[in-house]
Structures are given as C-alpha cells and as structure tokens.
C-alpha cells in the first residue's frame, strides 16, 4: 500500500464515521425569501466597466469583491475591484483613467453600528495604475503577520498590497515579483508545498490586447468568443518567505497547459495531504492540477472525469467552488457557465475520480438558459447541507436582440440543498442585473451567511440572511506550523466537511472563517487536519458561537 492509498483509506474511514452525525434528510423547502436585499449605509461603489461599441472583451468581465477583516476588529470589511475608463478608440499606451476617483477600487471599513466608511484613500489603495483595467481580488496573509493582504488582478499588471497593520497598505508588487502581466482574472492564496507560507495562483484568460481586439457578430456586434484568441498559461508563484515570490509556473508544470482560465478553487481532492488546483476554463477542457507533493503538478482533468460536462461537452467555465456538497467528506466542484448547458457538478467519487452529475443534482432544471459567474456553496439555512448561490447575467449586453430566450441581466439563482439535490428558492430579489462577482461571509456576525455581489455598471447588491431556527458554528483557524490563515485545512463538523480557503467563486474572495450549519444540534464535534499534517479534535463544542482554533503544536 502506498502512502497516498493509506491516507485515502484513513480519509474515507473518517468520513464514514462522521456520516453518523449527518442532519436528518428531506427537510422541507423554505418558501419565504432566504435573504433581505438592502443597501449598505456608507457604500457608494459603482462597478464601472465602460462598455463601448468596439466590444473590447475586457469590458464584460469585471469585477471582484472581497470580504476581509483588514483591521482585525472582528467585523468584515468589503473591498471592491473597479474596471476602468475604456474609450471607443483606445490608443497605446492605454490609459484607463484610474486616477479618476470614479474608477478607483474601494475599501469600505465596517463600523460597530453596521455602517461602512470609505477608507480607500487613507488605506493607500486609491490608484491602481492607469494601464490596469481591474478584474479580481485575492486575500491572504502571505507574510503570516496576522493581517490580511490584498492581491489585485488586472488586465495589465497585478498588484500586491501588503497590510501594514495600522489601517494602511503598501504596494509591494515590485519587491514581491508578482505582477504577472497580460490578462489575469481570478487568483487565490494557498500553500501548495505545506511549508507554512501562502503561495499564489493566478488564472489568465487569453492572449488579448487592444491591438488584437476583434468585433464578432454579423448584423449585430458582439464580444468575440474565447476561441477567437490564443490560449494562455496560468501563473503559480512560490512564496520564498522573505517577502518575495518565485514564478514557478514552468518548473511546477502549471505552464505546461494553456487554456482560457477564469475561475480557480483549491482543495485536496484525493486526501493525500497536498492542496490541488481546479481551473474553470472558458469553452475548453477544465483543468484539474493534481499536486504531486514534490513541487510539481500534473493536469488530469480529462482522465479524472473533471474536464467535461455530463453531456460530454466542454463547459464555458466561469466561476467555481470546490467544497463537499453531499456530505460524503470529499470535495466536489460546482462550475458556472454560459446558457444551453446546465452548471456542472463534478461529484468526487473517491480514488481521485470525478463524475459529472449536474442532472442528478438538479441543475438541469435550474440552469439551462442562464449564465453563471460568481458562485458559492454555503449553508444558508444552517440545516447542515451546503446550498448554492450563483450570480447571473449573459456576456453579451445585446443578447436579447438575437435570442429572445436569453437575458443580459438576470436575477441570481439560489438553490437549497435537499440531501444532495438542489431546489430553487427565493433569494429575496428578482431584480435582474449583469452579475459577475460574489463573495460569501457573515457580514453582521449573526451566524448566518450573507452575500455581496457585483454587477456591471451598477452598485453592488447585499443579501442579508433572514435567519431561521437552526444552530451554527463559525470557526477561525489560526495556523502555527501551517500558514496563519489555515488555508488548506480540512475541517469536519458533525459530518460536514469544509476545506479552508478564501478562494473560489469568480474574481472574488470570501470570508475566511469556516461556517457550519448544525441543524437542531446544540453541540458540535470538530476534527481538523491541518496542512502541516497535524490532526486536532474537539468534542461537544457549544453551538451558536464564533471560535478560534489554534493549531496544536503537538503532531
């Protein structure tokens, strides 16, 4: 028996044991709205994507949102990525007018009374470079100093802002060496070599520039499909631990595959103790990079069954989340995509294999004619099963003119998980928007997961959970030997499993705290496997509280 087989066996035994604690199945759907949608006092952000008649592809792709506690006051703050000013005729060098406050990214600090204050300028985040059109955001404490840092992706050069711990940030991109270049989209921090320091993965979409831009469509101009442009590689940066990163894309094997990367999510899908990478590619095979545990990755999406939809087609993958939706202890994948095919569920069958099961999971009914972007698998009703929330809206801003069955603006999809099968529910708003980013977290610290979404040309939407009768538990990990954020840890609570990460969705970064709905259970049994390999268990933990779990120093 190999080491991996042994770990896999132990892993599956653990899952089975916890399966006894699963909440009762077959709970009735909640008919009243799950969320109340309302504006946030103090947040005046508008995502300015600047659509033009030239149909520059970047215009329809932003922008991200992050939920982070940048000042460690226990309240989630919100960071929004803005697009930029695009003119019909763009000259080089490009100027996206990012000095203009209308095109700034924005950081809003949450005040104790639930209102927000724009601290962008004070924090040193006001200007993101005139040649950078904003896309996404990743959050992680890359230097383990206890304060979350911000990584921005752009069409142009990416930016790493170090959190100084005093409410301000410093642009350390040049020193860190993480500018990437080209068209970066989603990014995420994770620790691929378990050395206790967060590394960085950046998806890149395609080889596009103003000069290479094309207009498609015959009678009506549209944005061109990804196949009109060359595929491109993703980027992996290794954290050296001295404030600098090394581009290991080639050495790790990541750059061996070119694609049209949009979304990225992380989890250890085969239980070998090393975090793997899934890249949602647009209109090509999805990538599943298996972490070989020696600094290299092998892409095996097709042979693992995680590359193509249930119908055997290449998904136009946009957003992705890598969590366990059916409580079997193994992380599954939910990939959003364009209309005419359902959103894809890659069910983790164990032994490193997946099978596309979107129809069995109910997404054939939920998602045939819609376009999905940001996505989360979170337990919104705290019944012990992770539900799905997806922001939607077509790529083309004129799609109705040639297909009356499609919509540029769409309301979000909320689907409640009924023991592994998803059913439509009322998200509390049927307002159609051109949705893009989505971040998930407990904004008001009430134990119920909220959602913040972005939409092109509009203010963000805030979905506040209306709560219910069930219990919950929210865990903050504090790594010691592992990375400070605990990213990559597998946390099991009463038969549910979460993989610690802020990444996933589309362009966005989630509340790093791990939230568990407990149903009617008033206590929880917790088991953690840290990236360091250390295992930790807590029994009979009282429900309805926020707890911090420090990594045990004992192996």
């Amino acid at each position: 028996m190999t080491r991996r087989e042994l770990l896999s066996l132990l892993f599956s035994l653990g899952a089975r044991e916890f399966g006894r604690l699963l909440p009762a199945q077959g709970a009735k759907p909640r008919s009243d709205p799950v969320f109340q949608v309302k504006p946030l006092k103090g947040v005046d952000f508008v995502l300015r994507n600047s659509p033009t008649a030239r149909k520059y592809l970047i215009e329809t792709m932003p922008g991200g949102v992050a939920l982070l506690d940048y000042n460690n006051d226990g309240l989630l703050d919100i960071f929004f990525v803005n697009g930029g000013n695009v003119r019909d005729i763009m000259a080089t060098p490009i100027n996206f007018d990012r000095r203009n406050p209308a095109y700034w990214n924005r950081l809003y600090r949450q005040n104790p009374d639930g209102t927000f204050t724009d601290v962008t300028e004070h924090a040193g985040l006001a200007h993101a470079g005139d040649s950078n059109y904003g896309m996404g955001v990743a959050i992680g404490d890359y230097d383990n100093d206890g304060f979350p840092d911000i990584y921005l992706t752009n069409f142009g050069k990416n930016i790493l802002y170090h959190n100084n711990g005093d409410g301000t940030f410093t642009d350390v991109t040049a020193k860190a060496g993480v500018a990437a270049g080209g068209w970066s989209v989603s990014a995420g921090f994770f620790d691929y070599d378990n050395d206790g320091r967060l590394d960085l993965f950046v998806t890149r979409y395609l080889d596009w520039s103003v000069e290479k831009s094309k207009i498609c469509g015959s009678e009506r101009a549209t944005y061109c499909p990804p196949g009109s442009f060359s595929a491109i590689t993703n980027v992996l940066y290794h954290n050296r631990g001295d404030g600098t990163f090394e581009d290991v894309s080639l050495a790790s094997g990541i750059a061996a595959k070119k694609g049209h990367g949009l979304g990225v999510a992380f989890a250890d899908y085969d239980g070998d103790g090393f975090t793997d990478i899934f890249v949602a590619n647009d209109a090509t095979d999805q990538f599943l990079f298996h972490n070989n545990g020696n600094g290299t990755f092998t892409e095996g999406g097709l042979d693992s069954g995680a590359a193509l939809s249930e119908s055997g087609r290449m998904p136009s993958g946009m957003g992705v989340v890598f969590q366990d939706y059916d409580n079997d202890g193994l992380p599954d994948l939910l990939v959003t995509q364009l209309p005419h095919d359902p959103y894809v569920i890659f069910h983790n069958d164990g032994r490193g294999l997946f099978s596309a099961q979107e129809l069995e999971a109910g997404f054939g009914v939920l998602s045939g004619n819609v376009s999905g972007w940001g996505v989360g698998l979170e337990d919104f009703d705290n019944d012990g099963w992770k539900d799905a929330f997806i922001v939607q809206g077509h790529v083309f801003d004129n799609v109705e003119t040639y297909d009356d069955s499609l919509r540029y603006r769409e309301p979000p999809l909320l689907a409640m998980n009924r023991a592994g099968r998803f059913e439509r529910a009322d998200p509390g708003s049927d307002l159609p928007v051109a949705g893009r980013g989505a971040a998930f977290g407990d904004l008001n610290n009430d134990g119920w997961i909220d959602v913040v979404t972005t939409s092109l040309g509009e203010a963000p939407q805030f979905y506040f959970n209306r709560r219910g009768p069930f219990h919950w538990l929210t865990i903050t990990l504090h790594g010691k030997r592992s990375n400070r954020d605990g990213f990559g840890a597998r946390v099991q609570v009463n038969g549910q499993t979460r993989f610690a990460t802020a990444a996933g969705s589309y362009l966005s970064s989630n509340d790093k705290r791990l939230h568990f709905g407990l149903g009617s259970a008033e206590t929880a049994d917790i088991e953690i496997r840290w990236p360091s390999g250390i295992r930790q268990a807590l029994r009979g933990v009282k429900a309805d509280q926020f707890i911090v779990i420090e990594e045990s120093v004992q192996p």
Binding site: G312, N369, R421
Partner: protein
Amino acid sequence: MIQALLWLCLLLQPQSADPSVPPDALPLLQSGIDAENRGALDQAVTAFRKAADLAPSSAIVFLRLGDAYMKEHDYAAAIAPLQHAAELSPDSPAVHQLLGYALLAEGYASDAIPHLKIIHDPGALGIAQLQAGQAAEAVANLQAALAKAPDDADLLFYLSRAATALAGQSLDRLRSVDPNSARGHQALGQTDYEIKMLPEAAKQYEQAIAMRPDLPGLRLELGQVFAAGSEWAKAEEQFRGETKLQPGSAEAAYRLGNALLQQGKMKEAAEELKRSDSLRPGMPETLYALGRAAASSDPDAAEHALERVIELEKDTPLAGQAYLGLAQIHRRQGKTEQAAREMQDYRRIQALAAHPPS
C-alpha cells in the same frame, strides 16, 4: 451547374451556308471563331461585333457574339445580342438556352423561365422558378432533374431550398386563410419558436391544443418549446401527453426520456429511452441518451447502448462522447485499463474533429 451546362449544347451551324450572313461579314465571323478557338475571347468579341454591324439580320452572328460574352462570364453584355438572335430565330433552342442562362445568371429569373421552358431543362428551370417565388413548380422540376442526376449536389441543394420555400408559402397561406384555427395557431407557434420567441410560441401552441386536444404533434412541438427554454417539467408534461396520443411514436418517447434525463430522473428516463429504442432501433441520439440515463442505475444497459452508438457513428463527435461515457462507467467499475483505452479513442476523435483529413 449553369456554367457546366452552358457549354454542352451550343448548337451552331456552318456559317458559310447561312444566306443571312453577307460575304463581307464572313471573314470577320471566321476570324472571331478562330480567335475563340485560340481562347482569345476579347479578340473574338471584337470580330463578332464587327460582323454583327455588317450582318444585322444574321441570328448566327448575334448568337456567336452572345456566346463569346458568356464565355467571358460577361452575362449582362450577352443578353442584348442573344435577345436580338431570339427575335431573328425564335425557334432556335441554342439561342433560348443561352439567353435563359444569361438572364438567370443576372438575376432575371422570371424573364428566364419562358426560354428555359422551351428547351426542356428542368434543372435550370427549377432554379429559376425557385428564385421567382414559384416554389411548387420549382420542387417538381428539380425532382424531375434529380431523377436523371440523383447525386448532383447543386440540384439537391436547390431542391432543399425549394422545399423549404414551399413549406413557408404553405404556412403563410394557412396563416392568411384561417389564422384562428388550430393549425393556424400551430403555424404561428412554429414561426415564433424558430425566431426564439418562446413565450409567444407556447401561447400559440396552447391555443391550438385547446381547440383540438387530440391533434397529434401539438404537444410534441409545445414540449420542444419548453425544452428550448430549459423548462423541463413543463416539457415532460407535454411529451407525456404526446406519448399517450401516439404510443407508437419513437420521437415522443425519446423526447420524454430526454426531458426526464434533464431533470435527473435517471431511472424513468432510461425506461422511456429503452421504449423509444424498441420502437425505432438504431437511433444514435436515443442510444446516447440511454447511455447517460442508465450509467448509474444499470451500467450494463448503458454500456451496451454506448457501444451501439460507436458502431453506428464510427468516428463522429457523438461516438467520441460515447467513448467518454464508457470510460466513465469503466472507471467507476475499477476497469482502469479499459477506461484508458476509451479515453485514447475519445482523444483520437477529438483530434480528428480538430484536424479533419484533407
């Protein structure tokens, strides 16, 4: 096809025997013929034009001039001399053929039809009738032409166009003479469906069903409208209704099975798809859907169905998808080597699709 036919049956008589050609025009006429034989078409046209000036009553000279223009693909210039030739020699099939072709080539389809009728060329006549909006006549003539040349790609293409046009005309007439009949609503529903106005299409079909609930086909089409909008539960209801009306319809059974499949009702879907396969065996789409539906609940049936898809489809993309489905089943069963071989076949077909053999 026009061009190919043009040069087959140009009937020309020896010019020296034609009394309408004056002696002083004969050398020019001969010079033009010689130039034409050398392929010097510009010189031929010049010579024929000079001959025509000297022989204004000679049909053969104007025919030669028109023919030279047509060989130069200058159909517009050919029309006038050929019309003059037709006035001088109204019974000459060669003149009518060239004139009919020239008019058709320039888009004067209605004007070409009388000339093409004279020469009994059903293919060219059918094309002209299609372009003149005479779809029914076009279908008849193109079918007659295809009886003699069943594999002619151009004729097949134009026949398909003519049939489509005829269907459209029939529907237009139906809509105009009885728009409020069940068939009228069905026709309107079909039009709305084709232009992707799905809610409007559904309303039309629902009105048709209300008027004639037992009319076969209505529920099948309404179900397809719902399916196009991914409203699978509604589609299932309609397809189920159709299967009650037409229990022997393999298509209704297939579509019901697919609607069940899309809703994740795998066992029910597999049963219905098996029924469809028994009604009309050997339909690759039915078998592929059956392979998908039965993959978890009845892997042997799924495997058998997917293998039959491969037998039928060989190296098409659907066969590639069938290989993928087989690999999925075999991976689950732990048959990794077999799955690996199937993935190789899948990749081979993908490569074929990306780089088809020349």
